[in-house]
Amino acid sequence: MSDVTANPGETPMGTANAETMVDLTAAHEAAAEVDELLAQSLGQYFRAWWVRVRGGDSGVLPVVLAIIVVAVSFQIANSKFLSAQNLVNLFEQSTIYMLLAMAEIFALLLGEIDLSVGLVMGLGSVIVAELVQPGRNWPWWAAIIVALLACAAFGGAQGWLVAKLKMPSFIVTLGGLLILEGVAIIVLGGSLVGIGNSQYTNEVVIFNIFWGSFSPLVGWILLAVLVAAAGTGFWLQDARKRRHGLETAPRSLTAMKIVLMAVAGIAVVAICNFNRAHFGVIEGVPYIIPIVLVVLAASTVLLQRTRFGRYVYAIGGNAEAARRAGVSLPAVRIWCFVISALISAIAGVLFASWQVSLTTNIIKAANSYVLLAVAAAVIGGTSLFGGRGKTIHGVLGGLVIGAIYNGLYLLSVPSQWIDVAVAAVLLAAAVIDVLSRRGAQRQA
């Protein structure tokens, strides 16, 4: 029943009635336009892209437009919104949403849901903060590793219940979040735990993960290295494909991608290198930007370039078909829950650093991030029903939510209106998604 079988060449004879005939003609019309993968020139590529967008598969376009609309309207309402200082601030506020949304996408792609990401983050943050306290005084890296392992193990347990015992993920992770809430409060020990004491090196390192920045010069050097590496990578990959006679993107497109990346990178580094302190000097690229980028790149490679990723999309598209094709459903499902918990735990390390001190109430509030993480993923363009989505959607959706929080806060709008605004964006995203899919069906 998936789109794969819709390829006209494979249409079973038994089903070739009036409806499928229509499909065939539509296929021929579409065939006049070359697909993006096969595009030979920049012009062809953009035409193919436009056909795909009109066909209902709009990818990241709606969420990028949403970011532009949000940015322009807030900039009109308050000219501080697009100031260098506020943009960094905005990214800081979006970080947790971005990471949790990326974590959630690993469950959503399977057609499952993970309601526990917020509290996995909570548990991770408490473990890190507790272990670097002077009494225990673990090295910061050991604390982080233990937190990641503990959370991954919990994710594995949840995944095992879902995959092996066939319990619905909604319930498993709902029960999981309740249990985690209790466990996190027990680990916290009922009292306040802070990581802000500058006498202890390990606490300072944890604090700096969220609040620290590269010096401006290092920022530029890192950017140069990154662009050079990615550019060479793209270029070499293309060259190799061309040498092997495979379909390759036009050279101009590759060049444009590299230039675009360089320009975006320069803009980000330039913005971050402004002094954003009221007193003294705070400047440079915050560590959280490379952290988010590394998670994004790693998860994108995992999902788009590895066998595991293909299996994830296959299961999300049609689990039974994937099983018959020989995919081990339990293994892939368990690993997805482990990865989801792992990314949530990374968010937890940042959360501990961001909050500086953790209390029972903050742990309880960690739960409220779950629904916003799902909202960020859906706003970004990931389907709730599996098989469709990328982790970049989580980053962009998280940015929308962060921008709304930041913009309304700048306008000193009371926090309750922020929920209202996020709800409106979520509904709009869902309506756009439904309408575009409907348009696609009509065309087909």
């Binding site: 029943m1 998936s2 789109d3 819709a6 390829n7 006209p8 409806e19 499928t20 499909d23 539509a26 579409a30 697909d35 209902g56 057609g111 219940l161 015992l165 319990m167 619905p168 319930i171 709902l174 029960g175 999981g176 309740l178 809430e181 209790g182 409060i185 009922g190 296959a314 999300g316 598209g317 049609n318 689990a319 039974e320 078909a321 099983r323 309880k364 739960n367 409220s368 629904l371 916003l372 799902v374 909202a375 029903f385 599996g386 098989g387 469709r388 009371p414 926090s415 309750q416 209106w417 929920d419 209202v420 709800a423 409106a424 979520l426 509904l427 439904v434 696609a440 069906q441 087909a444």
Partner: protein, 484 residues
């Protein structure tokens, strides 16, 4: 829970060529050379097939099903067969409640868990979960979900409380309650219309609704530190205050019980008699008698417990709390609506197989919209009762709407309602809510010190997992779990 469920159903169960062709019409999207898997029939397959009712009397056709049983013995035999085949109904949650009661009675200091005062308090504490879980049940029956019940409930309570304020709108209490329920009903109808007409997944619509109404709740309350409370010295406000806090005097409690038992008994008896007269299949006379006796015994025990003085030697507090008959009436209304009316049959039909229901002429849009409306209106009532339980005071700290909805779904599922539609009853919500309330209060009775708060989360979570684990394992091998 898929919005496209209607489109997929035939593909999963049938598979004749014609059906497949019809499905392709909907599903085919032409992608010339881009091999991308975008569909998600796997989830739906599970959703529709899990709920195929397991025929209880197949394994032993010589034992008639409960409906056809001619004697008490046959009836119990049929009942045992049904349970053994995995369709255990309310038995697990009753077992859970008994287990929780026994365990807490043993471990609480001075064995105080089953004291009358505690039992009455547990009922008050559980009220909001019971009512919200009943509300959620109708939506879960459709294989949809409503994540906004918590926020809507709190809005309903706040509106009702605001409308009877004096000085202020000073509406009569019944008008305040009706207005609150109507507003909640409209909210639900809007969400239902968005889900059913635009085919946006209910998870997304009600997630947006949850955010939206959590924000609006604070606006209605008048800011982050706004609050509204009832003045119990005003007769009009006192009535709403008394919904949970007020008691019926002991004598009146007995009279009420007698009237209720006689009414229920007569109704059961007359219905059985009329069926028998018309030659329809009727339950054995013995069963009807046992049922009436059971109602009477439970009623007597409840009234006896409530009539014990649970105040101090100076201030007497006794009698049946008003909230008990209120919850029972609501339960009766929901049970009748779901099991005895056309609306209810359609709800189960849609939950079981939406496409089949649509072809049979059921208006999917109409039933779904009404279900969401009724769910939200019931949730509004739950919110009013919640406020009354908190001594007539509403603030932003009264309850967290997100927590409320998670507990609500947990209560419904623990009670025995399926997340995948078509299976569940209002009584499941009530029993699940009671179990959650009992655990929460039992934990608070133990002197756990710093472990008290964590345990209030861990125990319901563990119970939820255990309940669903038992459910999925018991249905294994009956052919009703076909998830790959």
């Amino acid at each position: 829970m898929s919005p496209d469920q209607e489109n997929h159903v035939t593909a999963d169960s049938g598979a004749t060529a014609d059906e497949t062709a019809e499905v392709t019409q909907v599903e085919v999207q032409v992608r010339v050379s881009r091999f991308r898997v975008r569909r998600h029939t796997g989830e739906t397959a599970e959703g529709t097939q899990v709920e195929l009712p397991a025929a209880p009397d197949v394994p032993a056709a010589d034992v008639p099903s409960e409906l056809l049983a001619q004697s008490l013995g046959q009836y119990f035999q049929a009942w045992r067969l049904r349970i053994r085949s995995g369709d255990s109904g309310i038995l697990p949650v009753i077992g859970g409640i008994v287990l929780v009661a026994v365990v807490f009675q043993i471990v609480t200091p001075e064995h105080s868990f089953l004291r009358p005062s505690n039992l009455v308090f547990i009922f008050g504490l559980s009220t909001v979960y019971m009512v919200l879980a009943m509300a959620e049940t109708v939506v879960l029956l459709l294989a949809e979900i409503d994540l906004s019940v918590g926020a809507v409930a709190l809005i309903g309570g706040t509106i009702a409380f605001k409308l009877v304020q004096q000085p202020g709108p000073d509406w009569p209490w019944w008008a305040g309650i009706l207005a609150a329920l109507a507003i909640c009903g409209v909210i639900g109808a809007l969400q239902g219309a968005l889900t059913s007409r635009l085919k946006i997944p209910s998870f997304v619509v009600t997630l947006a609704g949850f955010l939206l109404f959590s924000g609006i709740l604070i606006i209605v309350l008048g800011g982050a530190d706004g609050f509204v409370n009832l003045d119990s010295s005003e007769t009009n406000q006192r009535i709403i205050y008394d919904l949970v806090q007020g008691n019926i005097v002991p004598v009146a409690s007995w009279v009420l019980l007698a009237v209720a038992v006689v009414a229920v008994g007569t109704a059961l008896w007359l219905r059985a008699a009329s069926r028998r007269r018309q030659g329809l299949v009727a339950p054995p006379v013995g069963l009807t008698v046992v049922r009436i006796a059971l109602v009477a015994v439970i009623g007597v025990v409840v009234v006896l417990i409530c009539n014990v003085n649970r105040g101090t030697s100076l201030v007497t507090v006794q009698g049946l709390p008003w909230v008990v008959p209120i919850v029972l009436v609501l339960l009766g209304a929901w049970t009748v609506l779901l099991e005895r009316t056309r609306f209810g049959r359609y709800v189960y039909a849609i939950g079981g197989n939406p496409e089949a229901a649509r072809r049979a002429g059921v208006s999917l849009v109409g039933i779904r919209t009404w279900s969401f409306a009724l769910c939200s209106a019931t949730a509004g009532l739950g919110g009013i009762l919640l406020g009354s339980f908190f001594y007539g005071e509403y603030s932003t700290n009264t309850a967290d709407p997100g927590q409320l909805v998670l507990y609500t779904v947990a209560a419904a599922v623990i009670g025995g309602v399926s997340l995948f539609g078509g299976r569940g009853k209002a009584i499941h919500g009530v029993l699940g809510g009671l179990l959650i309330g009992a655990i929460a209060y039992g934990v608070s009775l133990l002197n756990l010190g710093e472990y008290a708060t964590p345990m209030e989360y861990i125990l319901p979570g563990a119970v939820l997992l255990a309940a669903v684990l038992i459910d999925t394992q018991s249905r294994r091998g009956t052919g009703s779990v076909t998830r790959v």
